[in-house]
């Protein structure tokens, strides 16, 4: 893989915006198609939503997914608190260690919920364009909360 987006600030942000943009468009239309009971387009949308996320993750970290290494291994109990080494969380590796980080997580979650509420209105109206307002709020809230908890965008 020769993509080097993650090596520059502009590349990271551009890649995240482009990748999550594809995810938002796919999620928004995917939910509307699921509401309409149209199976084939739903699976196509699910694929592009995931592909957009992978691209955005690659742009910001240099990897398509976080590697299951010792410092980030799901269900790996060798060193469960290793995530705390370079992220703003307390020694348990679970809760944030400052009010600012907590505010970021709570604020991000509230924006994400606002995105779900907006989504309900426009999915119901079967409006593909405006459902993206909900999609952007949902994904933007996730990025804010993720940054507050881990120090990385995705």
């Amino acid at each position: 893989m020769t993509l080097t987006l993650h090596r520059s600030r502009a590349g990271r942000w551009g890649g995240v915006v482009l990748g999550l943009g594809v995810t938002s468009v796919s999620l928004s239309s995917g939910f509307i198609w699921a509401y309409q009971g149209r199976a084939v387009p739903v699976f196509a949308a699910a694929f592009f939503a995931w592909a957009g996320y992978l691209f955005a993750h690659y742009a910001t970290t240099g990897q398509f997914v976080d590697a299951g290494d010792a410092d980030d291994s799901p269900l790996d109990v060798d060193d469960p608190s290793a995530d705390a080494d370079d992220s703003p969380v307390d020694a348990s590796g679970i809760l944030p260690d400052s009010a600012w980080h907590t505010a970021g997580i709570v604020g991000g979650a509230l924006v994400l919920i606002a995105g779900m509420v907006v989504g309900v209105v426009y999915i119901r109206a079967e409006n593909h364009l405006l459902t993206n307002v909900g999609g952007v709020l949902f994904l933007g809230g996730y990025v804010v909360a993720h940054y507050a908890d881990t120090g990385t965008l995705l």
């Binding site: 699910a46 590697a67 980030d72 779900m116």
Partner: protein
């Protein structure tokens, strides 16, 4: 990216796509256990993607997961993951049903359940909230 990493990304992505597509469709049919199965497919697919990115190789990544699971702490984590998965599935099903028939209480419960479920599942998977 080598062939092994590309292979695990392709297989994992197929599972993620199948799982999330199934979850989306079943949610509007109000079939919460099918939605849970869909999200299980998503999580397994995500994990398969991770195996290929593992620094020690996909096999080592898989072995670490099995070793981690076969311990009291691993089982506790797996329990949290299962609980969180159901919370997400229940929340997403309620979200979809809120689209079909809007209701403030149902909307609020769907948000709490899906976000709470995500946090519990993520603690089970990775040991941190998000």
């Amino acid at each position: 990216m080598d062939a092994r990493e590309a292979g695990s990304l392709a297989v994992g992505s197929l599972l993620v796509t199948a799982g999330s597509g199934l979850a989306g469709l079943a949610a509007f049919d109000d079939r919460v256990w099918l939605v849970t199965l869909g999200f299980l497919g998503f999580f397994v697919g995500y994990r398969v993607c991770q195996f290929g990115a593992h620094a020690d190789g996909a096999t080592a990544g898989f072995r670490r997961s099995v070793r981690g699971l076969a311990s009291p702490e691993g089982l506790r984590r797996a329990g949290l993951l299962g609980l969180g998965l159901f919370g997400i599935a229940y929340g997403v099903t309620l979200f979809s049903q809120t689209i079909v028939a809007p209701g403030l209480g149902r909307a609020a419960l769907s948000g709490v359940s899906s976000i709470g479920g995500y946090a519990v599942a993520h603690v089970g998977m990775n040991g941190n909230l998000i």
